[in-house]
C-alpha cells in the first residue's frame, strides 16, 4: 500500500513537471507580451527595451525556460512581473485557502443535494419525485454557473440582503463570516455538479438494485431501508466516486469564473488576471498548483476505491 502511494507520488511529480514545461511554452504562444500589456503604447522604445532586459525576456526562450525550471525545482516560482512584483508563491498561498474553501463548500452543497436526490429518484423510479429530480438535473446542467451566480446575488444579496454579495472572509474572522461569503458562490458552482452526481447515483443505484444480492438481502427479512442503505448505496457509490473525484477537481475551474463574479481573489482570479497581463510566472505557478490539485484528487479517489471495495487491493 505504502509502496503504491510512493509510486503514485513519483508519477504525480513527473506529470507536474510535464505540465510545467507545457505551460511555460503555451503561455508564450499567446499573442501579446507583458511589456505591451503593461506599457501599452505609452512607453518609449528605450523603456520597452530596458524592461525587457530587466525581466530577462531578451534571452532566448530556451534559456528562459531552463532558468525558470531550475528555480522551480528549488521551490522558487519567481516573482510577478506586474505591479508590486510580489513573489508568485506568496500570491498563490494567499489565493489557495479561498479557492479551497470555495471548493469545499461547493462540494458539500453538491453532495448534500445529490445523494438524497439520486437515491429518491432511483427508489421511486418514474414517480413525481423522480421526474422532479430529472428536471432539477436538467436545469442544473443547463444553467451556466456565472449566470446562476448573478441571479443569486440579485435575489439573496441585493434584494433579500441575507448574505454578502461579494468578497471573502478568512476562517480566522469566525465561522459564520467565512461561511456566509461562500454560500452563494458555493451554490452557483455546486448546483451543476449536484446535477451530474445525482444522475450518476440514480443510474448506478438502479443498476445495483437489480443485483442478485439485493434479492438475497430482501430474503433475509431486512427492512427496505436497511437493504437500500447497507447493500445498495455503498455498491452504487463505486462508479460514482470516480465522477465525484473528477467533479471535485473541476470545481477549481468552476471557481475561475465564479470567483470573478463574487470578487473573491482566489486561484481563478489570480489565473485570469495573470493571463490578461501576460504575467508569465504567475500563470505558470497557478497552473502548476491546479494540476497538483488534480493529480492529488485522482490519487485520493483511487485510494478510496480500496476503502469501499474490498476486491481492490494495491501493492
Amino acid at each position: 500500500m505504502l509502496g503504491y502511494i510512493l509510486r503514485r507520488l513519483v508519477g504525480a511529480v513527473l506529470v507536474m513537471l510535464a505540465v510545467a514545461t507545457l505551460v511555460f511554452f503555451m503561455i508564450r504562444l499567446v499573442p501579446g507580451d507583458p511589456i505591451a500589456a503593461m506599457l501599452a503604447d505609452a512607453g518609449s522604445q528605450e523603456a520597452r527595451e530596458a524592461m525587457t532586459r530587466r525581466l530577462g525576456l531578451d534571452q532566448p526562450v530556451i534559456v528562459q525556460f531552463f532558468y525558470w525550471f531550475g528555480n522551480m525545482l528549488q521551490g522558487d516560482l519567481g516573482a510577478s512581473i506586474y505591479g508590486s512584483n510580489q513573489p508568485v508563491m506568496k500570491i498563490l498561498m494567499e489565493a489557495l485557502p479561498k479557492t479551497l474553501s470555495l471548493a469545499l463548500i461547493s462540494f458539500l452543497i453538491a453532495i448534500t443535494i445529490a445523494i438524497p436526490a439520486g437515491i429518491i429518484a432511483a427508489t421511486r423510479k418514474n414517480s413525481a419525485a423522480d421526474v422532479g429530480v430529472s428536471l432539477f438535473a436538467f436545469l442544473g446542467l443547463s444553467m451556466p454557473d456565472f449566470w446562476l451566480a448573478i441571479i443569486l446575488i440579485i435575489v439573496f444579496a441585493a434584494n433579500l440582503q441575507w448574505l454578502p454579495a461579494i468578497g471573502y472572509a478568512p476562517l480566522a474572522d469566525g465561522f459564520w463570516p467565512w461561511l456566509s461569503h461562500l454560500i452563494l458562490p458555493g451554490i452557483a458552482i455546486g448546483t451543476g455538479f449536484s446535477a451530474i452526481i445525482a444522475r450518476m447515483i440514480r443510474s448506478s443505484m438502479l443498476e445495483v438494485m437489480q443485483a442478485d444480492y439485493m434479492r438475497t438481502a430482501a430474503s433475509k427479512g431486512l427492512t427496505q431501508r436497511v437493504v437500500l442503505m447497507r447493500h445498495a448505496f455503498p455498491n452504487a457509490l463505486i462508479p460514482v466516486i470516480t465522477v465525484i473525484g473528477i467533479a471535485f477537481a473541476l470545481l477549481i475551474s468552476g471557481a475561475v469564473v465564479v470567483e470573478n463574479v463574487f470578487s473573491i481573489k482566489g486561484l481563478g482570479r489570480v489565473l485570469i488576471q495573470g493571463i490578461q497581463n501576460r504575467d508569465y510566472p504567475v500563470v505558470q505557478g497557478a497552473v502548476l498548483l491546479i494540476s497538483a490539485f488534480f493529480v492529488l484528487t485522482n490519487l485520493v479517489v483511487d485510494l478510496l476505491y480500496a476503502v469501499i471495495d474490498p476486491r481492490i487491493r494495491y501493492s
Binding site: A211, D212, Y213, R215, T216, A217, A218, S219, K220, G221, L222, T223, Q224, V226, R230, H231, P234, N235, I238, I308, D309, P310, R311
Partner: protein, 324 residues
C-alpha cells in the same frame, strides 16, 4: 394443516399493458420437515412460484388469483411489513447463483450476522458466535477467520455453503432452494445437496428443492411436482415418478439425463422442440407440440389434472417398458 398450502396460484407478467400468465392455477402443499421437489425446464414457472411464496416477485409480476397459506395464514392478505417479518424467520431462500447472490463489498460475517440480528434479536457478539457455529455446521473450515473475509475469497461451492448458513440463520420452518447446484461443478453438486438434506433433517426444516434434474430428485425429495409451461403436469411420490413417470414430459426429462441404474447402451433422448413460450398461446395441452404421443384431442382440450397427472393419455408402466 400443512406448513405451506398453495391453492390455484396464478402469477402474471404485466408488460406494456398485456398480462401473460407465467404460473397457471398451481396447487401444492408442503408438510413440516418434508422435502418437495419442483422440477421443470427454464421458463416452466418454478422460480416464479417460489418467489411468489417469498413475497419477492419483481414489480411487473403479480399474483392474479389463488391463495398461499403458510401455517393457515393467507400471505396475500398480509401487508408488506408482516411479509417482511416472515422472511428469514419463517422461510428463507437459497438462490441459484452463489457467485452473485452475496454482496461483494461486505464481509461474509456481516451478511450472516445481519440476518441473525434482524430475525432473532441477538446482540452483536451473540450473533457473531452463532454465525461461527453456522459456518462450522455448513462445513466451512476455520470459520472464525473466514467470517472476516469477502465473497471473492470463496469458491462457488463455499459461497453456496455460506448462502445455506444465511438461509438457516434464524431457524426458518421452510427453506426454498432455487436450483442451488446448477451453477456449481458436478463434483460439488452432490456435496451441497447432501448438506442441505442433512441440515433440513437435523433441524426439521421443510425444503422446496427446485431443479431441472429429475434424476437427483428421487434421492433427496419425498414428493415431486413436475412443471411445464406454468402448470403442474405431474405430481406424486418422488421414487414412483422416477421409476415410472406417467406424463410424457416427465418421461422426456428422465430420458434426457444419464441414469446409473440403467444399461449404458440406452442412448440419451432429448425432448424435441423448445420449451413452451409463455408469450405464445398454445391450444389444448401446452406440451402437445413436443409430445410424441399427441393426438388431435391434445391440441384441443386442456387435460384435467386427475390422479396426479395432467394428460389425456397418461403412460402406464407397460407402455414405458415397450417404448425402451
Amino acid at each position: 394443516m400443512p406448513l405451506l398450502d398453495t391453492q390455484n396460484l396464478t402469477v402474471s407478467l404485466t408488460q406494456d399493458g398485456i398480462e401473460t400468465p407465467l404460473v397457471r392455477d398451481v396447487s401444492f402443499s408442503v408438510e413440516r420437515g418434508e422435502t418437495l421437489a419442483i422440477v421443470g425446464e427454464s421458463g416452466s414457472g418454478k422460480s416464479v412460484s417460489s418467489l411468489a411464496i417469498m413475497g419477492l416477485l419483481a414489480k411487473a409480476l403479480q399474483i392474479q388469483s389463488g391463495r398461499i397459506l403458510f401455517e393457515g395464514r393467507d400471505l396475500r392478505t398480509l401487508d408488506d411489513e408482516a411479509l417482511r417479518q416472515m422472511r428469514g424467520r419463517d422461510m428463507s431462500m437459497v438462490f441459484q447463483e452463489p457467485m452473485t447472490s452475496l454482496n461483494p463489498v461486505r464481509s461474509i460475517g456481516s451478511q450472516i450476522i445481519e440476518s441473525i440480528e434482524e430475525n432473532l434479536g441477538f446482540s452483536r457478539s451473540d450473533a457473531r458466535a452463532r454465525a461461527i457455529d453456522l459456518l462450522k455446521e455448513v462445513g466451512v473450515a476455520d470459520a472464525e477467520r473466514r467470517l472476516k473475509q469477502y465473497p471473492h475469497h470463496f469458491s462457488g461451492g463455499m459461497r453456496q455453503r455460506v448462502m445455506i448458513a444465511i438461509a438457516l440463520a434464524a431457524e426458518p420452518k421452510l427453506i426454498i432452494a432455487d436450483e442451488p447446484t446448477t451453477a456449481l461443478d458436478v463434483t460439488i453438486q452432490a456435496q451441497i445437496l447432501d448438506l442441505m438434506a442433512r441440515i433440513c433433517k437435523d433441524h426439521g426444516t421443510a425444503l422446496i428443492l427446485i431443479t431441472h434434474n429429475l434424476g437427483i430428485v428421487a434421492r433427496y425429495a419425498q414428493r415431486v411436482n413436475v412443471m411445464y409451461g406454468g402448470r403442474i403436469v405431474e405430481s406424486g411420490d418422488a421414487r414412483a415418478i422416477y421409476n415410472a413417470p406417467r406424463h410424457p414430459y416427465s418421461e422426456g426429462l428422465l430420458r434426457s439425463v444419464p441414469r446409473l441404474d440403467q444399461d449404458r447402451s440406452i442412448p440419451l433422448k432429448p425432448i424435441q422442440g423448445s420449451p413452451a413460450d409463455p408469450f405464445t398461446s398454445i391450444s389444448g395441452c401446452r406440451f402437445h407440440p413436443r409430445c410424441p404421443y399427441a393426438t388431435h384431442i391434445c391440441k384441443q382440450e386442456v387435460p384435467p389434472f386427475t390422479a396426479g397427472v395432467a394428460c389425456h393419455f397418461p403412460l402406464t408402466a407397460d407402455a414405458l417398458e415397450s417404448a425402451s
